[in-house]
Symmetry: C2
Amino acid sequence: MFESAELGHSISRNEWKKELPPLREALLDAQLELIQSRKFQVVIVVAGIDCAGKGETVNILNEWLDPRHVETHALRELTDEERERPEMWRYWRALPPRGKIGIFIGTWYSPPLLENVYAKTKNAELDQQLERIVHFEKMLCDEGALVLKFWLHLSKDQQKKRLKKLENNPLTRWRVTGTDWEHYKLYDKFRQVSERMLRTTSTPQSPWTIVEGTDPHYRYLTIGKAVLNALRGRLDSTAPSSAPEPVPPIMPAVDDLLILRTLNLDKKLYKKRYESELEKWQGKLNLLTRDPDFRKLSVVITFEGNDAAGKGGSIRRITQALDARQYRVIPVAAPTDEEKVQPYLWRFWRYLPRKGKFSIFDRSWYGRVLVERVENFCSRNDWLRAYGEINDFEEQMVRNRTVITKFWLSISKEEQLKRFNEREKTGFKRFKITDEDWRNREKWDEYEVAACDMIDHTSTEIAPWNLVEANDKYHARIKVLKTICQNIEKVLKK
Amino acid sequence: MFESAELGHSISRNEWKKELPPLREALLDAQLELIQSRKFQVVIVVAGIDCAGKGETVNILNEWLDPRHVETHALRELTDEERERPEMWRYWRALPPRGKIGIFIGTWYSPPLLENVYAKTKNAELDQQLERIVHFEKMLCDEGALVLKFWLHLSKDQQKKRLKKLENNPLTRWRVTGTDWEHYKLYDKFRQVSERMLRTTSTPQSPWTIVEGTDPHYRYLTIGKAVLNALRGRLDSTAPSSAPEPVPPIMPAVDDLLILRTLNLDKKLYKKRYESELEKWQGKLNLLTRDPDFRKLSVVITFEGNDAAGKGGSIRRITQALDARQYRVIPVAAPTDEEKVQPYLWRFWRYLPRKGKFSIFDRSWYGRVLVERVENFCSRNDWLRAYGEINDFEEQMVRNRTVITKFWLSISKEEQLKRFNEREKTGFKRFKITDEDWRNREKWDEYEVAACDMIDHTSTEIAPWNLVEANDKYHARIKVLKTICQNIEKVLKK
């Protein structure tokens, strides 16, 4: 697949002089339109063989574009804040918002490539890593990002020549290290693994462009034009970002085969028993967080459920057992404007905990397949693909030794009515019932179907849903605490 | 000053039982009002002597409040991302937004206290550190935050008893370390330094409350009530957060004594000379960033100036000389909603660079004393105090080995008109002149006075303003590059 990038492409000084000024004008114009319309963000990946001119190319792109709206990221040593999160966290935090351009050098492709060349991973493992990259980039594209990937190539001869040339020039000698020559000796292996990598990760939405790296002017023009064309294409496209689809109404289930209907919501715990169990499980939880190995893992807990099902009360029974320095509770509300210009999951990635810490989400990334689905806040396609994206997200947490526990707190329609009425009667403002609560209640059946679909699609082996019968608060709280303890214990013992 | 906190305050089991329920109710109600009104944020500092119950007290506060809107921070080891920024960066990033409560344990008081007790700092140095803390807290209060500070005290005897008791209980033995006993031996020194510290940092806006730590119930109730009273006081206050003041109009200066009028704006550089100078200073800048010691410092550059003075062009001449991975350009626009609920400088603190990196601000924190002052976007008091806050901010950067270079790009009124007209004629959309540009131009004299006042008040020895005659773009760009190079070189040589 690299053959056509070894034909000795180059352009003459005259061509360069002729083509450059209009290209730069057009690029700046397109960028300005991007900045003003904020239609999408651009993610440019520049990867490739050593010494093929990645750094210079990125510098040229920055020179051509308005640098106030471009940010460049290179793979560098992980900071300790990054090291304690799932591996993609560092990229999520660096994603450009809509209207901006993010240039990534090497990045998520470098580790899988190097590990495989140095035989630290088998091919099956490499394929898994690449599969994850494909998922990540697909998500970016589905969320509206323009993803452009350039692979700079050099033939074996050309790479040798480049290394020698750099070494012979006193000004550039510092750039050639032992690693470069070591990689050169492994050229054939690098080529073979790169080929596999590029083949697997070249998708219709984000294909690779392989660029011959020998002649810098050729390289710059080729990439500059490709960026321009892609930008213009997206800016000029009048097609709505997602085709309007007829939204089928959510049909209430005709029978009682819905999983949520199989729960015995009236499971009960009497006060005395509750009090002793509470002490037991809170004590247990506290003890678990003092385990020396606890510092090697993170805990994520999410709460979903019917309105008034007791999420807040359950959360308090957890935090009571913890040291306040160890946890953070994230009440999920409407996204801020910084969150709105990012892919959907961005606003949850930013709250992933460090090692030894809890992040407790009061409502979560499941909003997309619950409220956003039922209320038509997103397109059918958006929530349909969210199932897979969420499973990917949770899988990444688990691989990073995050104990993730998801709760669905379930109450009956009658119990909800009782609680709504009680709340309206009490004087405490904090329990005020809003019109929205009553409106949501009217859609009870639709929410039920959405919740059951969600459980079907996202109850995975590594992150199963825990359905909590919550008509009785005592029973619910103890089940929550017990489940968390068991999950942490399981991982600690591993 | 600790005498009254050694009187053996305690409360009976009955009082506790009687007072607790209404206090908790009232606290939750007040917190809900805070969450809904988003009137201000609350910063609670819990500090004090070892083993006086800081952790337990904070846990209790979290239990009493709604933990979804409280975040607790403790002094822990710095992460490498924090270590590369000014020391207060870690606290700025942890500040609660309006509507939330941030609880800080120990925090900015611990390092100065410990350093002085262990004789690493002289008293004069301690006083300087405390002075900075006073400034920081004053800024928080002026920005509307409610700052509450509690110091938990134990007498020497009580501390010894507490340590022994913890040691004798197998469940708490782990909490007593060698450091605790070491600190106990230094009790008198700790007491003396704490007293100095508390005296210096107890201000009318954010006074210390000293609480006897012996009886936990007394401690909890005292602090709980103090938090409630302060919250209620601020929530119920009908006084506008800053008293309305008559705003005196900005008077144009009657003579030519304004500093900006003393510039010879027509300084010129011819194209040929410009080209060779550009090569020289860009090369120099690039070389400086390759100095091995460069990795030990950070660079902050800010651009202010008349509209159309050439800020964007100057920035590009800087970035051209740098590797794209080294810099970030921050175009300062309207604050996002996450920025609006924080103190004014928060949105600049978040972009401070790591070591070896540049942050280039296209417009900056000086907006407050320029556009916000002239357009009455903030109160007179707000921009008046901004001078001092900005000087503090820059001083903190410099102490962290940040090379800060501030540019004012100055063009004449005629030159601006010429550039506006030219821009209106060109076809490039990116140079479009807006109505706002013309409106600002009408206020030329007022902006000039504001700029001169700004230069007067914030041209400090460590971070002086660089006034750049910019009628000739070539001259301006070279002066900018040269100034940056000289400033970096100066610090590298230190």
